[in-house]
């Protein structure tokens, strides 16, 4: 029994969900639901406990990096892709988020999926996702990380297409998968480049190598190795984390069951990109260009998605776009070098966005599968728990003091404001915050207040069972207090979260930029401004949807083109279809299928076969059926061989060589 058992056997943490997945996947079909439930919940719960224990040991161990090599997965030449797990501060945050939120969502799913078919299948997939996500965050090298990366992609595909009988669902699954492939392609190129540069894929080795200033300009320069590698990695991140231009799959991914949206497409998987960028921040900080790109893309995505979110009427789609925009925030943070803030926002966002989705799920569950906000309203009296928890989350995401969202968003804006030339980024970020507050409250008002717009008789509204409300409450609490670890910073205190991550990201830059005191005043002002912006957004929403209902429609009519554009999400999907999909379909149909496959490959094979047949037909005539003719042929062959032996200078020696 080693001193720190779990740290010693880190693989236990990901293994448990895999076990649950295997059990459910292999035996679940024969089982009643409650066994599947037990397997899934217990496995994830256990892995959550193990994670907690691991964290305890991590602290007890003096917060030093744990790196374990368990076995060699691929060994080729000087390449070693090992099954290596590591644990440091960043991993701690991620693991806790994944296992904790994941476990809550598992519990929620028990209630939510209770009446669905393929119950065991759902949990098998969900546990599989947990396994791969944990592999992703625990991996100690890019190769293994990529395994988790692809694995979560797979599980997300499986879960989006969970209702595979619905064409839209399976299409959405395929879309997500394919779009992710584009990003992953870049990611793999990035990995190859890294390997070519550093001759390894282990994090520690690469970062140590990258940190040393020996690298010349060609490496750090505008189009140096690092820049290219970072951009390629970031391409993967945009795919996985739904950033411009690859964000299109995420809204469609809402076809999956709501818990899936909550777990995968809000809390954990989509943040993998952020995690990767943060994980390889040493590379990024060495490449100005990459940083700028990340910041701009993140910022643009945030604003862009927020604008689309303004007009969506499908409750889950609104949340999806808000997720995209929040992810944009995180990348903005990374781009401006405030990695700590990015991860911080990642965590808080995991709390409140998961909560939002679950609450939305609860709403949908309550009124019988309806997702259009225009057919809701006045629900708050009927489902108070859902309402209050969701309101909490909304406040949190809107960045109202003192909820979790406030602190994280505040840090991001601060980081954006402080870097040179970051003002425009800050402005857009602020505007986005305003928009966020607006559309989130629009969602609240449309859903819970006003007069019911749905058929009372058909849909008998009911509060969700406790198995669903429990996680809601837990997450609500988290999204209230989740940010307080950074709270003291406002009052000249210490930012515990930043300090905790400091060993990885280094301390926040603002301290160096200008004096601590001025930095503090600046921080306060910025926070104040942000809150004001949020308040404005809320106010507008109140004015448009409560005070004067119908004002929204007037507005929509008055500025028709903009409205329709937004409603159609800037026609991005259509654009992609025209620019990418159709040409590809044409190419593969006419060139690869008809020309290459049918004409080329099949043609060759068939030709060979027919050739053989015709030859056989020809030779067949030599079979006279007379035994002695065969004998004659044999003799002729023998004579030929003997002739060769005889006239071949060396052959005679070899043939009769046995005599010697």
């Amino acid at each position: 029994m080693p001193a720190y058992p779990i740290l010693e056997y880190l693989w236990i943490i990901p293994l448990l969900p895999l076990l649950g997945s295997a059990i459910n996947g292999l035996l679940g079909s024969k089982w009643p639901n409650k066994y599947a439930t037990t397997a899934a919940i217990s496995s994830t719960g256990l892995s959550f406990l193990c994670a907690l224990e691991a964290v305890r040991e991590f602290f007890a161990n003096g917060q030093q990096l744990v790196h374990k090599q368990y076995f060699d997965w691929i060994v080729a030449g000087n390449f070693r892709g090992g099954f290596d797990l590591q644990m440091d501060q960043l991993t701690v945050v991620m693991v806790l988020v994944v296992t904790g939120v994941g476990w809550l969502i598992h519990i929620y799913s028990v209630g939510y999926m209770g009446h669905e078919g393929g119950y065991y299948r759902f949990f098998s997939y969900l546990n599989l996702f947990m396994f791969f996500m944990l592999i992703l965050v625990l991996a100690a090298n890019y190769a293994l990380l990529f395994v988790g990366w692809e694995g979560v992609g797979l599980s997300s595909y499986l879960l989006i297409g969970f209702y595979f009988l619905r064409k839209s669902a399976s299409d959405a699954g395929k879309k997500a998968f394919i779009v992710n492939r584009i990003g992953d392609f870049g990611f793999m190129l990035g990995m190859f480049l890294l390997f070519r540069t550093f001759h390894t894929l282990d994090f520690r080795a690469i970062f140590d190598a990258a940190a040393n200033p020996a690298w010349g300009h060609e490496a750090w320069g505008q189009f140096g190795t690092f820049t290219v590698a970072c951009l390629l990695l970031f391409m993967g991140a945009t795919g996985k984390s739904a950033q411009l231009p690859l964000y299109v799959w995420l809204p469609d991914a809402m076809e999956g069951p709501t818990p899936v949206s909550a777990l995968i497409h809000a809390a954990t998987m989509v943040t993998a990109g952020v995690y990767v960028v943060a994980r390889s921040h040493i590379l990024f900080v060495h490449s100005e260009t990459a940083m700028v790109v990340v910041a701009v893309v993140g910022c643009a995505t945030a604003f862009f998605a927020a604008t689309i979110g303004l007009v969506q009427t499908d409750i889950k789609r609104v949340l999806a776009y808000s997720t995209v925009s929040q992810l944009g925030y995180m990348f903005l943070a990374c781009g401006v070098g405030a990695f700590g803030a990015g991860i911080f926002h990642l965590m808080t966002h995991a709390f409140f966005k998961a909560l939002l989705f679950l609450a939305a799920g609860s709403v949908i569950h309550a009124i019988g599968g309806e997702q259009d906000m225009n057919k809701m309203g006045g629900l708050w009296k009927k489902i108070p728990w859902t309402f209050w928890t969701m309101l909490t989350a909304t406040l949190a995401i809107a960045g109202i003091f003192p909820l979790a969202g406030f602190f994280s968003k505040d840090q991001i804006l601060l980081g954006a404001y402080q870097i040179s030339g970051g003002k425009p980024l800050y402005a857009v970020g602020l505007l986005t915050a305003l928009l966020t507050a607006f559309y989130m409250f629009r969602l609240i008002f449309l859903t819970f207040t006003g007069k019911p717009r749905f058929d009372e008789h058909k849909a008998h509204v009911h509060e969700s069972p406790w198995s669903m409300l429990g996680p809601l409450v837990a997450l609500a609490i988290l999204s209230v207090i989740g940010g307080w670890v950074a709270a003291p910073a406002l009052f000249q205190g210490r930012d515990y979260f930043a300090d905790f991550l400091a060993p990885i990201f280094g301390t926040q830059e603002n301290a160096e930029v200008l004096g601590a005191a001025s930095a503090h005043t600046l921080e306060l002002t910025l926070a104040f401004v942000a809150v004001i912006a949020a308040a404005i957004g809320i106010g507008v929403a109140y004015w448009m949807y409560l005070a004067k209902p119908g004002k929204a429609d007037e507005l929509a009519k008055s500025m028709k083109p903009a409205y329709t554009t937004l409603l159609n999400k800037y026609y991005v999907d259509e654009f992609y279809a025209a620019a990418v999909v159709r040409p590809l379909v044409w190419l593969s149909t006419n060139v690869f299928w008809k020309a290459a496959d049918v004409a080329g490959i099949d043609g060759t094979v068939n030709a060979i076969a027919q050739g053989a047949t015709s030859i056989g037909d020809g030779v067949r005539h030599s079979q006279s059926g007379n035994t002695r003719s065969y004998a004659v042929w044999v003799v002729v062959g023998a004579i030929v061989i003997l002739a060769v032996i005889f006239f071949w200078p060396s052959a005679s020696k070899t043939a009769v060589g046995m005599v010697r």
Binding site: R628, V635, A638, I639, L642, F646, S652, A655, V656, V659
Partner: protein, 167 residues
């Protein structure tokens, strides 16, 4: 002309005559008899070379078993004189040419391979049955076992072939 050489030529002539008569005889049983003559002559040659064991086995197995089977089958089927057909008349000449070519090439190859073979004369000292048995049961034990399997298969096959299908 040593005595051995005389014996050799006598036996060789006997063998060749037997082979020729195998070809020329009209009735299969006469062919069989001629073949037996050939085999006995060959056994004599083996003895001359000093390969006593092989000679004995040659007569016991070939003469005493295989050829008896042939004679038995000929008697059983009451095989008569074979009739001529157009093809068979034609077959003679080209067949002869082919055979001459074959034998010629063999002889030529041996002759060309030259001194080594001619020099290697028959010592006749190599007659150890023990040595053969050791080779069979040590060096060639796996082939030996395989041949036992072969024989088993042959027995089964012969049984299956010989039994009349029960109706």
């Amino acid at each position: 002309m040593t005595a051995q050489l005389v014996v050799f030529f006598a036996l060789a002539a006997l063998a060749v005559i037997g082979a020729v008569s195998l070809i020329l005889q009209k009735h299969p049983i006469h062919s069989a008899l001629s073949l037996i003559v050939v085999m006995v002559a060959l056994a004599g040659l083996y003895l001359l070379m000093g390969a006593e064991f092989v000679a004995a086995v040659q007569i016991i197995v070939y003469g005493g078993a295989i050829m008896v089977l042939f004679v038995f089958v000929i008697m059983l089927l009451n095989a008569g004189v074979e009739e001529h057909t157009s093809i068979s008349k034609m077959a003679g000449i080209p067949g002869l040419l082919l055979v001459v070519a074959l034998a010629g090439f063999v002889a030529a190859t041996i002759a060309k391979s030259g001194a080594s073979v001619q020099a290697a004369t028959q010592t006749g000292m190599l007659s150890s049955t023990k040595g053969i048995s050791e080779m069979v049961f040590k060096d060639f034990v796996y082939p030996f076992e395989l041949t036992s399997f072969l024989i088993l298969v042959a027995i089964l096959g012969a049984t299956v072939l010989a039994q009349r299908e029960k109706s």
